[in-house]
Symmetry: C2
């Protein structure tokens, strides 16, 4: 009884921010958290088709994990999602119980709350009200993936890079977050391009004064220039 209260008290803000369990009462949280335990994974931990992922469900409480795909022939990587605080995984395995062919890598030192998949399923059957939550969350993910697909088809690398930057500016601090300390290679993986090409575009943005770059560091200097560029990208036929 003490454990789950401790977990809950410790991570209230993170858990409350968890979209999948949006609006869940404290009582239900405590009931669910009985089954959770905390795990720590060091930075750069790489999880390749880990059996464990079929059997556990995780809530990230601190750090970033990239979920990515590797092309078996070209060995190129594509980052599908950059998971962070309050994100959960793997929803896919929860939903249909089959193995999800993706890879995971910790970009920071990670803390997660873990629950055995079958216990989550039991809890869900006991509280079927939350099925609705899960469905609508899945719906949101699908829309995200769908717009992702369209963006890949409709827009060029330069636009995709601009969007990536603009979408990761914290509206309060006006500073780039989540992706600000990634090397060019990781940025390329996020938008489906290569290091050289991303660097070419970043250099252009540096020259027009909108960003500042250093080793593993991108900083926004003038977001209005970025926004203007984005508009022009759209206009040019």
């Amino acid at each position: 009884m003490a454990t789950e209260n401790k977990l809950f008290d410790k991570y209230i803000p993170v858990l409350k921010n968890c979209e999948l369990f949006n609006g869940m009462t404290n009582e239900h949280w405590r009931e669910l958290l009985v089954n959770f335990h905390e795990e720590k994974w060091p930075k750069e931990t790489c999880m390749v088709n880990h059996q464990k992922f079929l059997f556990h469900f995780y809530i990230i409480v601190s750090g970033r994990i990239k979920m990515y795909n590797v092309d078996e022939f070209s060995e190129k990587e594509h980052t599908l999602f950059l998971l962070k605080e309050s994100d959960v995984f793997d929803l896919f395995c929860l939903m249909d119980g089959t193995r999800h062919h993706v890879y995971y890598e910790c970009l920071d030192n990670i803390k997660v709350l873990a629950i055995p998949m079958d216990k989550l399923k039991l809890w869900l059957n006991k509280n079927p009200v939350y099925y609705q939550h899960f469905l609508s969350y899945a719906g949101k993910m699908m829309r995200m993936l769908e717009s992702n697909v369209s963006q890949l088809i409709f827009t060029d690398i330069s636009t995709r890079l601009l969007r990536l930057l603009v979408n990761n500016v914290n509206s309060n601090s006006k500073q780039l977050e989540h992706i600000n300390d990634l090397p060019n290679k990781e940025i390329a993986n996020l938008i489906g391009s290569t290091r050289a090409v991303v660097n070419r575009h970043l250099q252009r943005l540096k020259k027009n004064g909108s960003i500042k770059i250093a080793r593993k560091q991108v900083e926004i200097k003038d977001i209005s220039i970025l926004l203007k560029e984005l508009e022009n990208q759209n206009k040019k036929i």
Copy 2:
């Protein structure tokens, strides 16, 4: 009472083939079908953000409907899904109840079974067992979208076209189905390219003897050549 029995008897094979309701008993089908009615939409009917779609859920019983996206600037189209017999839509609206920003167009004369969204939701709440079905179906769709994204990033147009062809060969008849009577433009929309480029690749395939083409007609002549081409595409770095 007569109506839903008639609907069920009329469309047994189609409904039983419906993945979303996979394994549902006849009794449950009859219970659910009470709320359905049949609708016919003529070929080329175009549905643009139809309010109706928020309030109804459809099962296609005959004909094809393309679900597509349009880039507001370039006005290019991208076909997300080619829905056919036994497919359902719009799952997204069912799942989170918000408007789905896509377009629909009937490629054939269409027959659908329609149910008011809230009645489906009521039925689902009465039979929460089926939430699990819906979740796992959504999971499958997500995996599909995900692999779609990766394919766009990892493979070129030529490979995407080859895959499209190979994936739509009926394993019994060995003939191309679903996409065999589409104009080049529609094929282009399916793989995220343009008519001219698709035609260029089709000409190449015609020359190597793997396909036969005519106005709005693609026919497989030798699938082994297509499969060999696909293999080579993968090998070349």
